[in-house]
């Protein structure tokens, strides 16, 4: 632990690199996860440069084409290039993952912070509402939400973010409850800071570590829920190339005739989620020592 602190204390650039190297060596699985996640992010950003074909362009001549040098991952029934669709699909998964996690975290933090900091009746009522929201499984809640809002990219993001709110709010609330009693908060009050600035400038930054851990852990599950929703035909609609929907289009009958249409999108989902899970595990170990095993 002492070694970490001395390294972290250095403000210079090379020491930041040294910190990174230190953690990468100590958490090889986490570093692998970060690398996988980085690859998907780069894929999403540079999609137009690493693909030749428009992911929505159809070409009946290559319907159900076997993977070849021209179409490395084959083509689907409508003759759309699978490599392009998988690469552009990373954009959708990333947008839904980051969007819904961000939205859920925003509302969750606001609710958790106010509820933990102010307490009283407000806290009691908010906790009951959070209880209710947690009594429905993530996918069921998201299904009902999409049914209510109608299928679109934005609505899918909203639908997935709602069930995340109570999870985030719970963690932030319990952290706030603990921080509220700390001497440095008392000191801030003693020097005459108003409650709102204390909450925002002293409590909030200290909940950042558990928030990062939680958000990374939830990122994987939001990608999975999006895939499941789209697989059921209730998530991200056409023409967006969503990994989950690629599987529904190519499901049962393509298992026989075009297995590559089943293998690649699923592998993309699994790898992306696996990467964020590895990263999340390592971040939890680094940032939240109480949970370390």
């Amino acid at each position: 632990m002492a070694a970490i602190e001395t390294i972290e204390a250095g403000p210079r650039r090379e020491s930041r690199l040294a910190t990174f190297r230190f953690y990468a060596r100590r958490y090889p699985l986490g570093a692998a996860g970060a690398a996988i996640a980085a690859i998907f992010v780069l894929m999403a950003i540079f999609a137009p440069w690493i693909t030749q074909v428009d992911p929505t362009a159809t070409n009946p001549r290559i319907s159900l084409a076997f993977p070849s040098s021209e179409h490395p991952l084959g083509a689907d029934f409508l003759g759309r290039d699978m490599w392009s669709r998988i690469v552009y699909g990373a954009r959708i998964s990333l947008a839904v993952g980051l969007g819904s996690t961000g939205l859920g975290a925003l509302f969750g933090v606001t609710i958790g912070l106010t509820s933990g900091y102010f307490g009283g009746w407000y806290d009691l009522i908010v906790q009951r509402v959070m209880d209710m929201m947690q009594s429905l499984p993530l996918l069921v809640m998201a299904l009902v939400m999409t049914a209510a809002l109608g299928p679109s990219l934005e609505n899918t993001i909203i639908a997935i973010s709602i069930p995340l709110i109570p999870t985030v709010a719970r963690v932030i609330r319990s952290n706030t409850l603990m921080l509220r009693e700390m001497p440095f908060i008392e000191a801030a009050r003693a020097v005459g800071m108003n409650e709102l600035s204390i909450a925002l400038r002293h409590v909030l930054p200290n909940t950042l570590a558990p928030l990062i851990v939680l958000a990374t852990a939830q990122l994987g599950s939001t990608i999975l829920v999006e895939a499941a929703l789209s697989f059921l035909g209730l998530g991200v609609p056409e023409p967006h190339p969503s990994w989950g929907r690629m599987l529904s289009e190519s499901a049962a009958e393509y298992v026989r005739v075009a297995p590559w249409l089943v293998i690649f999108p699923g592998a993309a989902i699994s790898l992306a989620v696996f990467g964020t899970n590895l990263l999340g595990d390592a971040l939890r170990d680094i940032l939240d020592p109480r949970q370390r095993d």
Partner: protein, 315 residues
């Protein structure tokens, strides 16, 4: 103790009441009701007919009255009629229920049978190659979408056995049924077993550090007895909690897996009902799922009391 139970039970009812409002409200903010959909698909617009349909379905009533009618019906056991098949909702749901229940039960059994022993082994052999392999396997269990796992299993069956294990007709013998359900149950249960394995591992690691374990080893208790009896008994409490949380996740797994394997259970029925905007089915099914999850959590709280005499609720 009795006071705690009563308080806990009342809270449960309050939670369910809140959920019923949320479900009801959500399903009514949709622009366009079933009458609009029926008419747009039929392509004929006769305002009088439409008004008649809305009246028959009770859609012309104020929303509060509609809600009161629904809850009143629930209490009396009258769940209304499906918009699509026009059969009583209960008759639509009831025959599908045992199918999903069997699948969920088998998936949970699979999860416990694999998750807990492997978690114990992983903890006992902490930081050995075996531990690393088991940890990566469990993490991949949390990363694979269960519908994809199901499709992969289908693919292997087709390729190597020339047989598609999807549901086509009700199985005749219990052996056939077991065989037919085992594969989807494994696809659903893989995720839960992964989660249980992770939790068992971390919980066991905590217990294995304690003094009484060292004492047990010192007095010469066998390796298996120390790990699986002395340690696991104390490590099992957080695992019981996860069984409750997993019960909720299982529903999600069932929804996609029943779709992949064409199993006519309630979970797939929910998706069909959502697609066709069959409100009575959707709201009753979602309510039913909420009741299941909330009661399972209630039972788990009770199991806590029974399992750990150290926990006492005096408030």
């Amino acid at each position: 103790m009795a006071a705690y139970l009563i308080r806990r039970f009342l809270l449960m009812l309050l939670t369910l009441f809140g959920i019923s409002i949320v479900i009801f409200a959500l399903l009514r903010i949709v622009p366009g009701n079933i009458a609009d959909i029926l008419f747009s698909s039929a392509g004929m617009i006769n305002p009088a007919d439409k008004a008649q349909i809305e009246k028959d379905l009770g859609l012309d009533q104020p929303i509060v009255v509609q809600y009161a009618q629904w809850i009143g019906g629930l209490v009396r056991g009258d769940l209304g009629y499906s918009y699509i098949s026009e059969k009583p909702t209960l008759d639509e749901i009831a025959p599908r229920l045992p199918i999903s229940a069997k699948l969920a039960g088998m998936a949970l059994a699979f999860a416990v049978l694999f998750g807990i022993p492997l978690g114990v082994i992983s903890a006992v052999r902490q930081n050995t190659p075996l531990d690393y392999v088991l940890r990566v396997v469990s993490l991949s269990g949390l990363s694979l979408p269960s519908f994809w796992l199901g499709l992969l299993i289908l693919m292997v069956c087709v390729r190597y056995f020339g047989w598609i294990p999807i549901y086509t007709e009700p199985p005749k013998t219990w052996w056939n049924e077991l065989l037919l359900f085992a594969i989807p149950a494994a696809a659903v249960g893989f995720r839960s077993s992964a989660l249980m394995m992770r939790l068992t591992r971390s919980s066991m690691l905590e217990v294995l550090r304690q003094d009484y374990i060292r004492t047990a080893r010192a007095k010469g208790a066998s390796y298996a007895k120390v790990n699986f009896v002395h340690a696991l008994r104390n490590a099992v409490l957080p695992i019981v909690t996860i069984v409750g949380i997993e019960a909720a996740f299982l529903v999600g797994g069932l929804i996609v897996t029943e779709t992949v394997f064409n199993i006519p259970g309630v979970a797939r029925f929910l998706v069909e009902a959502i697609r066709s905007r069959d409100y009575p089915i959707v709201q009753n099914l979602v309510m039913f799922i909420a009741v299941c999850v909330v009661s399972i959590n209630f039972l788990i709280d009770m199991a806590y009391l029974a399992l750990d005499p150290r926990i006492a609720y005096e408030k």
